[in-house]
Amino acid sequence: MTALGLLFYLLSAVALLAAVLAASRRNPIHAVCCAMVVFLAVAGLFVVLGAPLPGVLEVVVYAGAIMVLFLFIIMLLDLKAEAGTVPMARFLVPGVFAAATLAALFALIGTDPSGRMPLPMALATPAAVGQMLFDNYWMAVEAVSILLFAALAAVLLLGRTPPANANKGSAA
């Protein structure tokens, strides 16, 4: 077992444990902080798997931007913080389906004999990934940029303060 292999299993355990914690906390701020741990651990997994550019983007975009946006919205809306965990009974029915899905996925993964070979050691430079992205997938990059622009326009429309004479529908 090499050091990188150990790091992989350690980071996987941290990510899965923090994901379970995030799914079961009632206090949304605690849950989002656990989710941040998940994304930092997954960023470490990306670096271990030889993808430093997605790893850095995971920290900047997920753990940095998206999770801070979640925290910001929770504090802005002043959601009431409830202590403890979600009652286990609510996880019963989804848990049954999840166990069935997980069993099917593990069986499917186990049937692939090529999946048992150890992965090679490799490190993709960010320059190579960027070159490949803009050579082969420039259309997808443009589509994502249009998607982000559409999301920006929609957020501006939804977040607009209603005019003073038209706020009859908003209950304070």
Binding site: A31, V42, V144, L147
Partner: protein, 101 residues
């Protein structure tokens, strides 16, 4: 590195299922969105593992595109939550049932 691809895929599958349970079982809209983010991250993890196993960079390019989609999804979902809350709604998904008969 002594890690086979099947272990990477198993971790991704477990994270995906945890995210799915979080999105289905929780009632708070914030936690539903967090569950969806977990599912997208699990897909990214599978892409990165596959990119390493096949020795090409297409999987890493897909991760960057998925991240753009996830950012748009989170921003739009939270803006809808703020909009609903401003109109007198709550952060509880079960309360948005005005279309129910």
């Amino acid at each position: 590195m002594n890690v086979p691809l099947s272990h990477v895929l198993a971790v991704a599958a477990a994270l995906f299922v945890i995210g799915g349970v979080c999105a289905v079982a929780r009632r708070s809209i914030i936690m539903i969105l967090v569950g969806v983010e977990f599912m997208l991250t699990a897909a990214c993890l599978a892409f990165v593992g596959a990119a390493l196993a096949w020795g090409n960079l297409d999987g890493q390019a897909a991760v960057i595109i998925v991240m753009g989609a996830a950012a748009a999804e989170a921003a739009l979902g939270l803006a809808l939550l703020v909009h609903g809350r401003r109109g007198g709604g709550t952060a509880n998904a079960d309360d948005y049932n005005r279309l129910a008969g």
